[in-house]
């Protein structure tokens, strides 16, 4: 996904004089040539994440379309007040494109983990949150984001599904595996393959989205029908991040909800992303345990 992001960004810099990229050393090598071509629009401020986000806000105040890029915890958590005040509160837009989603950098430890990024962004109003599940979904999402002045969080990950499901940008729920009943499992971004494996033979609808914000409420309501629908959502970031949206979407009907995702505990563990997925119950076996219990199979 990072490579797809780099390629798409370079193309946008070449095509659109409004697009600017602000870096804080992370990924600077990948943009070295673009920085020579577009000296005034590829800005590496050094290891200064607060400045990186503020500069993006300043660029947007002059009418440019900034893309900010770094590790998720260094943008969203370290420079959180800059995101909140220097972009959002100023009433300007930016594309915040991060790598290092959740436990991608598992061997680096807690300092490089960011399961809470989407929950933090979700404390603000009107942001579009894109969580692609495959590299082929990245380019169209970035291109759409660069084309307007809205506030967009693009969450890139080394976790990926085997195939791209939705290369469109409308963000609607895509039914990947239909079933007859009123039970649905929503997989966000790179959780889809594990969700499909975990629900094999369970006769439950599996739907996919790479766009948790704005969440496709209409699509969910059309799938979660019947007298007491059951909805499970599996998110590759903090568990429960979208629970409030789904609860509100179904407030007119009795329903059951399971919100699965990354736990809050600091595990103080290194290892692989797969080991972290397992620890958070997000591998196939863990998801199957949770979903079988929730669906009463």
């Amino acid at each position: 996904m990072r490579e797809a992001f780099v390629n798409a960004t370079i193309n946008l810099l070449d095509e659109d004089p409004r697009v600017a990229l602000v870096l804080a050393d992370i990924s600077a090598d990948a943009f070295a040539e673009a920085a020579r071509t577009h000296r005034d629009r590829v800005l590496n401020v050094g290891i200064r994440e607060q400045l990186m986000v503020s500069v993006a806000g300043g660029l947007a105040l002059t009418g440019l379309r900034p893309i900010v890029h770094s590790y998720a915890p260094f943008v969203v958590e370290r420079a959180w007040e800059q995101v909140k005040l220097d972009v959002d509160h100023q009433g300007v837009g930016a594309v915040v494109a991060t790598i290092g989603a959740s436990y991608d950098a598992s061997a680096s430890g807690r300092t490089h983990l960011s399961p809470g990024d989407v929950a933090l962004i979700d404390t603000l109003d009107g942001w579009t949150v894109r969580v692609p599940g495959h590299a082929d979904e990245v380019g169209p999402l970035l291109r759409a984001a660069a084309g307007d002045d809205s506030r967009v969080y693009l969450r890139l990950s080394t976790q990926t599904n085997a195939r791209a499901v939705a290369t469109g940008t409308d963000g609607r729920l895509t039914v990947v595996r239909p079933a007859g009943g009123d039970e649905v499992v929503v997989a966000v971004g790179p959780t889809l393959d594990a969700v499909l494996a975990a629900t094999e033979g369970l006769d439950v609808t599996v739907a996919y989205t790479h766009t948790p914000r704005p969440f496709d409420v209409t699509g969910l309501r059309s799938l979660a029908t019947g007298p007491t629908p059951a909805v499970a959502i599996v998110e590759p970031y903090l568990a429960g991040t979208s629970a409030r949206i789904i609860a509100d979407a179904l407030r007119d009907r009795p329903h059951r909800l399971a919100a699965l995702g990354v736990g809050r505990a600091d595990l103080h563990r290194y290892g692989t992303p797969a080991e972290h997925a397992s620890a958070h119950g997000l591998d196939t076996a863990g998801l199957r345990r949770s979903l079988v219990e929730f669906l009463g199979r």
Partner: protein
């Protein structure tokens, strides 16, 4: 300046303030009266100068100057901070014509100003200057120092920072405020922040290839 005193009284409801009660007042007046290429008619012109008030607390002097220069109606000065007033105790750029940034939390204006200067340069707009006003205590915020180091390193010469120094930083600035900038390649002038000619001269002494800082020294906030 006399009329500003009346405006300040209107804003604060206190008749006793003299202009010197406001550390930023003289600098703001000189900026808007003599230096900034901006008016109510050109406030959205891409070629205008930008003034960013980073020290967003205590904005009464700023509002008074904006009213005197016609950016906002004088009757806005009544009721600052009320629910239906566009003038808050920290300015909001979405509510007040002529206010370039919403400020309040310290240490945001200078990094934002660096971004504005870079954005203008990237669009070939080389005439506008970007002025950012900060307080000496505000410089405590580390985010300023990210911007000071970077702007100096890349020679961001359309940027001017005004530090209003009323000696209110808890731990002070040994060797002076200007040294924090000059060590990073900025040009610097320190002068008395009540003398309008000195202020104007200090603001105009920017040079090609370097960002510029003007340190406007005023009476100590807590007394000598």
């Amino acid at each position: 300046m006399t009329v500003l005193t009346a405006d300040l009284a209107r804003l604060t409801g206190d008749e006793k303030h003299s202009p010197s009660a406001y550390s930023t007042l003289d600098v703001l007046w000189v900026l808007y009266d003599r230096v900034l290429r901006i008016s109510p008619e050109t406030r959205d012109d891409p070629e205008r100068d930008y003034f960013l008030l980073s020290k967003g607390h205590g904005p009464a002097a700023f509002y008074a100057v904006l009213a005197e220069k016609g950016f906002v109606p004088a009757d806005w000065l009544d009721g600052m901070g009320r629910w239906d007033s566009p003038l808050g105790h920290h300015p909001d750029r979405l509510l007040v014509p002529g206010v370039e940034i919403s400020s309040g939390s310290l240490g945001h204006g200078l990094p934002l100003g660096a971004g504005v200067a870079l954005g203008l340069r990237a669009q070939g707009l080389l005439k506008p200057r970007v002025y950012v006003l900060v307080g000496d205590a505000e410089l405590d915020e580390g985010s300023n120092h990210e911007a000071i180091a970077y702007a100096g390193a890349v020679g961001l010469d359309s940027l001017t920072v005004i530090v209003v120094d009323n000696q209110s930083a808890t731990h002070g600035w040994s060797d002076g405020i200007a040294s924090r900038f000059t060590v990073n390649g900025w040009s610097a002038v320190t002068a008395w922040g009540r003398d309008h000619d000195q202020i104007e001269a200090g603001l105009r002494q920017h040079r090609p290839g370097r960002p510029h800082v003007f340190v406007a020294v005023t009476e100590p906030k807590w007394g000598a």
